[in-house]
């Protein structure tokens, strides 16, 4: 009989790939922001606000931070799976982690799309 363990939803190759794709998205976004700061010579308050007033910047930022949150979900869940043997405690930590990240997602949308 196959012994199945409760570890939370899907894991394995799919999540391994998700973690790598999201890592590359974050790297590209980071290089873009760094390039902007270097070109804008320290990025003044006005230049920074103008940048984030562009819809495409908001879209790209939303995608990148969503990638970050998904990446963090896979990563932090891996950490809980490594260290917490007790199923109940582990599932609780998974749920709390998800709530933390979903809360952050909602807050992120407010921050990024809140500015005119």
């Amino acid at each position: 009989m196959v012994k199945r363990h409760v570890v939370g939803a899907h894991y394995g190759l799919r999540d391994w790939l998700v973690q790598r794709v999201t890592a590359v998205i974050m790297l590209v976004y980071t290089l873009g922001v760094v390039a902007f700061i270097l070109c804008a010579n320290g990025a003044s308050y006005e230049a920074w606000q103008e940048l984030f007033a562009c819809t495409w910047v908001k879209v790209v930022t939303t995608i990148s931070i969503t990638a970050l949150l998904w990446h963090a979900w896979v990563g932090v869940r891996d950490i809980w799976m490594d260290y917490i043997q007790h199923v109940g405690v582990r599932l609780t930590m998974h749920v709390l982690t998800l709530l933390w990240l979903i809360g952050s997602l909602i807050y992120m949308v407010k921050v990024v799309w809140g500015v005119a």
Binding site: R20, L68, L101, S104, V115
Partner: protein, 124 residues
Amino acid sequence: MQKARPKHLALWQIRLPLPGIVSILHRISGALMFAAIPFMLYALEGTLSSAERFAAFKECIAHPVTKLFLLAVLWAYLHHACAGTRFLFLDIHKGTDLKTARVTAYIVLAVSLSLTAIIGALTW
């Protein structure tokens, strides 16, 4: 016959090689950034807020405790991104021989620590 194995890990007796240190710091930095997410979003909100709120925000990040926290997160991001990039190359079987792996581990540690120190000095 089965060999007797240690029943528990004596963490303070483990001497990690350099790539091992980079690896565990990658995990620690990831966990640290996870905890910091809402606070970093709050900081982003501060940089995007109106002129008056921005002035208050600037005062908040001028506090030494806030600065130390931001520098810790900066180090975490730099280390995690550099070490993560190194892992991505290892994944596609680049730089897996012992000598290269040690050199790249050293570079990851040195680059993220010195960039943090430089940016910290410039913005203090």
